[in-house]
């Protein structure tokens, strides 16, 4: 049993408005279901900032727009599940 799992994924955000307010709130709520520490980076903007996936204001400040690629990195006991759930949320275009 691994208590310090790690998982990461790179994914392109395809929904119309990117990670603006409502999708970002859905993202943060999904992240909140997991105990792992989850970080998000906007690869398209090419800076090194990492947002805490549990913080709406940090996530929205990444300026993730439609077509941007992001990297999710999680550390913790449920890291793999967390990355999978967030990836699926983005792939589903936030249930749209």
């Amino acid at each position: 049993m691994s208590s310090e799992g790690e998982a990461s994924a790179e994914i392109t955000v395809e929904n119309d408005h990117g990670l603006h307010l409502r999708p970002a709130a859905d993202f943060v709520r999904t992240a909140a279901r997991y105990r792992s520490r989850i970080q998000v980076a906007n690869l398209t903007r090419g800076d090194s900032r990492q947002a805490n996936a549990r913080s709406l204001l940090e996530v929205t400040a990444l300026g993730i727009d439609r077509g941007h690629s992001i990297r999710l990195s999680a550390t913790g006991e449920d890291a793999e599940d967390a990355v999978k759930a967030l990836t699926e949320l983005i792939r589903s275009n936030f249930g749209a």
């Binding site: 409502r22 970002a24 709130a25 709520r29 913080s55």
Partner: protein, 132 residues
């Protein structure tokens, strides 16, 4: 039971607009009251209206107050003084930016976090730049 929010602004329209934003991110999971304007409808704050908004909520899950400007703090504190002690201890006044604090707190409350965690999330908005 979720933490509830009371949004206090000098302007009724600012309070209501901020409530609209907070409700959208909370997806209906958080009771949110908007209180704005002075008693005569001009710009200002009204301790009695703040008290009424708090009293209209079930305080068992806790209530977080956010204010738009420092001059609303006095009205908020006057309202808090009128509450029964057992209610008063379930209410916190956030030292946070109004819009950012309200939406961040709404999301935090919507996932079932406790009052102190919702307060901490609202106050963490102080250090969060818009440009990252």
């Amino acid at each position: 039971m979720s933490v509830a929010l009371v949004l206090v602004s000098h302007s009724a329209r600012l309070a209501e607009g901020t409530r609209d934003l907070a409700e959208q991110v909370a997806q209906g999971a958080v009771p949110i009251r908007a209180v704005g304007g002075a008693e005569d409808g001009s710009l200002g704050t009204n301790a009695f209206a703040i008290l009424e908004a708090i009293e209209s909520l079930d305080t068992a899950g806790g209530v977080l107050l956010l204010v738009d400007l420092g001059s609303a703090v006095l009205s908020a504190e006057t309202a808090l003084e009128q509450l029964a002690p057992e209610k008063r201890e379930r209410v916190r006044l956030a030292d946070a930016p109004f819009v950012e604090g309200a939406v961040a707190a709404a999301v935090e409350a919507s996932v079932g976090s406790e009052l102190e965690a919702v307060l901490a999330t609202a106050e963490a908005a102080r250090g969060q730049g818009k440009l990252g």
